[in-house]
Amino acid sequence: MPTVIAIVEDDSDQRDNYSDVLTAHGYEVRAYEDRPSAEAGFARELPDLALLDIMLGEDMDGGFDLCMQLRNMSPTLPIIFLTARDSDADRISSQRMTAWDYITKPVSLEFLVARVHALLKISDQLQSAPTGSTTLSVGALELNEDSMLVKWKGQAVSLTLTEFWIIESLTRNPGHVRTYDALSDVTRQGLVERNTINGYIRRIRNKFREIDNGFDRIQTVHGTGYKWEQGSA
């Protein structure tokens, strides 16, 4: 059974470009241009993964509404927001609706495919059997690469795929500096500005601090990048 990917995007050129590349990679694509048609499509058939634009024509938050409906239908369905909107508020909204990733336009198709691939793999893992075998432990941090699961001091931290990749990259060599360039590669978004990396780190820190107010493991090395400080605990 081919993997079905739903694309909801009001711009037909972008929609078609996404479809083309995903189809070329062997996925079956269902493309919708607005919320009603997408809702109808989801009712008929639940996709394996959904790519949502937030703004659908006049419908300012159409993507969010669709995301909520999909989440109601399936708690584990990987959802990626692919949007031109780059505000913290939108990112937080997407996170609240447990979207798996949030990518801003312009997106590199190559990386998009990679993400889709990675998310589908994680989704498979979660659905088959939750195993703790590949769990990586760095101090109080637990990291399951397969299920994209991160726990800090035993509590789950809800991260997007990109954030997960950054944490993974940082903790691979605790105490060593990850340069901006390295982190930029990890985000798999093509050319990424330092400020964008700073934004990711800021959001990651905030998420950890929601659990542990004194969280200070991710340290800034100004002008260079970030490192995961291995604490005594």
Binding site: A24, L109, D181, L191, V221, G223, T224
Partner: protein
């Protein structure tokens, strides 16, 4: 992106610049000062009041003058054709003002009639001169060198002493050959006893020594009784200037209530022995204290008695300048009318007193006028009387004695075509003056009250106005930064008030609101633009990728490469647009995350990183290895430093040297980045830190002119300042950020 477009965007600012340098403000007064100056124009009112009261005074004085004139003429017509009243013989000599005893000097010892004249002159006290100037019965050709009399009276127990010094160029004594008594220098004594009976005594002498005294008939020629009287003792002693007469009269001889009159008769030549002059102790109505004696006509006095006029003195004279009757005085009945009794001096009453004194000084108190009023004005009266009697016309005149005003009118009394006498009425204008004074006083108090009230009211109003205008000004100034960025979109102060200032406030508020909306639109523009550009950019980007994916052989195609480069540039432009737009918001949000950190450490780390990522340039930190603490958000400071370095590299010379300096001053840390690039163009040096201002000329690189704008935003959110200047001494530009210095770490 190419630079000319950026220039075009910056153009309107260029045009707006000259307007900032507005024409110099004219120097002038503030509103409050102006209004207060206006209040001082009110001071014209008291001046006007004063002037009008003065005019009123003039008017009233004229009225009073006319009334007095009428009174005078009335009296004169009543007295007209009443020759009987002016008969020189029916006059009664009268000692004015009281009994004789009160008016003559009381002597300690009786004087001997034979004592030398010097003893008498000394004992009897001050002599009163009867120089005869205008003296009645002297006539117009009177010559004081021919006849002058000095006279004094004294009393001791039962005796009355009279002493005369007569200056006479020729003393003619009685010729024993001649029978007549009145053809020589003589003294006539008229006594009116209490019964009203008149007795006339002639005192004469044939030689120096004892005087012979005869009782005479009214014509002074014939004796009633040839016997010389023994009751009165008198001597005539020659003195160098003429002769002296000593008289001793028993008071019994005069009887109680008697009135006396002396006349000195001068005869100067022996042939005709005609009377040349008579000087009498005829009353001078105002020299009461001389103890003079005068002639009055009781019927006349009775006639004018009902004509009493307040503060007026009415006198009736006969044609021989003799006062026949008088009534009233120019002085008010109670002199203390304006007097103040000094009381317990409390603080308030002292203030009141000084206030009153100030009034008196300004308004000329009539009390002073009263003080200036002369007790004796007989000289002027006689002059006036002379004119009236000579010309036969009524005369009115106003006299001033210092502050005192006296209105005098004189009118002749006619009888059968002859001038028989005259009425002289004098009235003081003091009553008027005191009325005027009171009016002015009331007016001044009223005016002062009104003036103070108005001044205070205007001061309060002006202060309030100034305060409101000042507040409006302050708020308006605070509404936007000096660069023109709006901080507020409304003015609160006084916007609810209904007056013009309130509506001005509302207008400014509305203006600010519109401006705010416009600014908001402008500020959102990059964000909106970025968002709108992202979609087509994504189309191009994904299409290019698809193209490359489907046609692997095109991977190295130069056109595809260029297209991808173009997309990359577009993307970086959009990113920097959004970065600046969202930064302001982010900075305010992050204020709470400020921490105290070591700027030196941060800069050192950053510079290391920059050096690693820009190996072609030499980026050198040039500051001591000591901590420099500031309060702020390290990420943002690093972002600011990024932009500073980017800017230095972009505008520095290729593969050049970039120096990063940190310098600690008294209160600030100066962080400066120096490059060795071309100097700053003059036209943008003031606006370098404004958005969309760039001096870049390389069309192939992206220059939105937002880098230094971000530097400024970050610096300002850290209470810092930015400046850019050409390096002194060597080529290059120095951009400096001054940040407040923090003394210690906070925990």
């Amino acid at each position: 992106m190419n630079a000319p477009a950026v220039r075009a965007a910056a153009q309107p600012k260029n045009e707006a610049l000259p307007q900032r340098k507005s024409r110099p403000v004219r120097r002038g007064l503030k509103i409050r000062t102006k209004l207060l100056l206006l209040v001082f124009f009110l001071l014209v009112i008291p001046w006007m009041g004063y002037e009008s009261v003065r005019e009123m005074e003039k008017f009233l004085l004229e009225g009073q003058e006319q009334a007095l004139e009428l009174t005078t003429q009335g009296i004169s017509s009543i007295l007209g054709n009443r020759s009987d009243l002016f008969d020189p013989d029916i006059g009664v000599p009268e000692l004015v003002g009281g009994s004789l005893a009160e008016l003559v000097k009381t002597l300690d010892e009786p004087l001997a009639i034979d004592a030398p004249t010097g003893v008498w002159a000394q004992a009897i006290g001050e002599l009163v001169s009867f120089t005869g100037v205008g003296r009645y019965e002297c006539g117009p050709d009177y010559r004081p060198d021919l006849l002058a009399v000095r006279h004094a009276l004294g009393v001791h127990e039962s005796m009355l002493f009279a002493y005369f010094e007569v200056d006479d160029d020729r003393v003619i004594l009685r010729d024993p050959e001649l029978l007549s008594l009145d053809t020589n220098d003589q003294i006539r004594l008229t006594v009116q006893r209490d019964s009203g009976e008149l007795s006339r005594y002639l005192l004469t002498s044939q030689e120096p020594g004892r005087l012979s005294i005869y009782l005479m008939k009214p014509n002074w020629r014939e004796v009633v009784d040839g016997e010389a009287l023994r009751d009165i003792a008198g001597t005539l002693d020659p003195v160098p200037t003429g002769y002296a007469v000593k008289l001793r009269i028993p008071r019994e001889f005069l009887g109680p209530g008697a009135r006396i009159k002396f006349e000195i008769v001068d005869i100067d030549e022996t042939k005709t022995r005609a009377i040349r002059q008579i000087i009498s102790t005829e009353p001078d109505p105002f020299r009461f204290e001389f103890g003079s004696v005068r002639l009055t006509t009781p019927e006349l006095a009775k006639l004018i008695q009902p004509l009493y006029v307040s503060e007026a003195n009415i006198t009736v004279w006969d044609a021989f300048f003799r006062l026949r009757a008088q009534v009233g005085s120019v002085f008010p009945p109670v002199r203390e009318a304006f007097g103040r009794v000094p009381q317990q001096q409390s603080w308030a009453s002292r203030v009141e007193e000084s206030f009153l004194r100030f009034f008196e000084w300004i308004l000329r108190s009539p009390e002073r006028g009263l003080q200036d009023m002369p007790i004796d004005s007989s000289r002027e009266d006689r002059r006036l009387m002379g004119r009236v009697l000579a010309e036969g016309d009524s005369i009115t005149e106003r006299r001033r004695y210092g502050e005192a005003k006296l209105i005098v009118t004189a009118s002749p009394i006619w009888a059968a075509g002859n001038i028989e006498g005259a009425v002289l009425v004098k009235q003081s204008a003091n009553k008027l003056l005191s009325l005027q004074y009171r009016t002015l006083q009331r007016f001044t108090v009223l005016f002062l009250g009104v003036f103070i009230f108005l001044a205070v009211a205007i001061l309060v109003f002006a202060t309030r106005l100034t305060y409101r205008v000042g507040k409006l000004q302050r708020e308006t100034e605070q509404a936007a930064t000096s660069e023109g960025r709006l901080l507020k979109d409304r003015i609160r102060a006084g916007s609810r008030s209904s007056d013009e200032l309130g509506s001005l406030t509302r207008s400014i508020s509305a203006l600010l609101q519109n401006l705010g909306q416009y600014t908001q639109y402008l500020e959102k523009l990059p964000d909106t633009l970025a968002h709108e550009l992202h979609n087509p950019l994504n189309v191009v980007n994904s299409s290019l990728e698809n193209l490359q994916y489907n046609h692997a052989e095109l991977a190295e195609d130069k056109h595809l490469q260029r297209a991808r480069n173009g997309v990359g540039r577009l993307r970086s432009i959009i990113t920097s647009l959004t970065e600046a737009a969202s930064l302001k918001e982010a900075l305010t949000r992050e204020q709470a995350q400020s921490e105290v950190f070591d700027l030196a450490q941060l800069v050192r780390n950053c510079v290391e990183g920059y050096q690693a990522s820009h190996p072609k340039y030499r980026i050198v930190p040039n500051f001591p290895d000591a901590p420099m603490l500031i309060l702020g958000v390290p990420d943002r400071i690093a972002q600011m430093l990024d932009k500073l370095i980017d800017n230095a590299i972009q505008f520095g010379s290729e593969n050049g040297l970039i120096i990063v300096n940190l310098r600690r001053d008294e209160e600030v840390i100066d962080l400066s980045v120096l490059n060795d690039g071309p100097t700053l163009p003059d036209d943008i040096v003031d606006r370098l830190f404004d958005p969309m201002v760039s001096s870049a000329k390389d069309a192939r690189k992206t220059h939105l002119g937002l880098g230094l704008y971000i530097v400024r935003l970050v610096a300002e959110s850290h209470r810092g300042q930015v400046r850019a200047e050409n390096r002194r001494g060597s080529r290059g530009v120095e951009v400096t950020v001054s940040l407040p210095f923090e003394t210690r770490r906070r925990n």
